[in-house]
Symmetry: C5
Subunit: 87 residues, 5 copies
């Protein structure tokens, strides 16, 4: 599971039906690239999270029929900055 | 889900039967690489979109038997340039 | 689906049974790396093609039991050089 | 399967239900990026391990319903440093 | 399918049960990274091979319940050096 940071909400009125009304988040990965993830945990902007990909991303949603390939699995609260300082 | 930009249509007369008559789009990802995606939403050239990969790309099509591994999920209308300006 | 160029045939006498007698092609992707793909469309050497990965690569074969993770989906005939010139 | 090194435990109180109480580890891959993996073997900090991704990561867990896409498969005990010296 | 070279055997006494007694090989890909693969064909050290990933890696094993995400599919005997010379 990858470690990413929440940049913003993603407002997107025109989307495929398979995404339903899933909450979408704009994330930034460690290489600096942007990704869009579905968010079942309600991660606040600025927080570090870890994400799951592939078929696991679908089953991680409350409704596994949502057509995502990236889902936020959990919020990391305190240790990343310490680890970054130690690196 | 990755964020990409629509470059062009892809005209391809000789293709496997599993792609059926799916609309194909030429996209450019954030690294500058080109990708080919199936497009069930009708994304105009020049627009930013986000895409889903793997088995989710198939189920995201109206007919899930289409043999794609990259499908456009939604069109991002206005915020990307602002985010790019802020970066 | 990725865009690659056909470099050569791949002759490989010692292979797993799951590949059966599938035609194998040596491709080069946009980063310059070499890949091996199964080829159900008969792509000539030097042509640009687009390929599908993952489980879609298997279902794209006439016999979906062939153990591939990269299959040529279609041949791109004319537009790539123009696009490369315009880039 | 990728070769990574165990950096730390990952304490994460707010996570999706699908992760259950799975033990989470912070790993570093060969490119220096951080990843989060589920750990069914109890790998100590500092050890080199190899990991499996995708749907195999789920079936590699004692309970295959755990929503992971990266699972530690085995601990490499002694040879990596020798190989690194020889490289 | 990726092209890699066999570097060594991988001796690993502590592994998950799902790997059973599968033969493990240390490979190097074209970017120079190390990977661990299951080997149903008995590839000798130093040989160039091509590998399959994802769910295809499991079905490529004689026993598809082996929890791998990278399996050697075939041995490339003679042409790679010529191709490298020509590149």
């Amino acid at each position: 599971m990858e470690i990413m940071r929440v940049l913003d909400d993603l407002v997107c009125s025109r989307r495929i039906g398979g995404l339903q009304a899933a909450s979408l988040r704009l994330l930034q990965n460690q290489a600096g690239d942007w990704q869009v993830a579905t968010d079942p945990v309600g991660a606040p902007v600025g927080k570090w999270v870890f994400t799951t990909t592939g078929s696991a991303a679908r089953v991680a949603m409350p409704d596994p029929r949502v057509m995502t390939d990236l889902t936020i699995c959990g919020i990391i609260d305190h240790w990343v900055d310490e680890a970054a300082d130690a690196a």
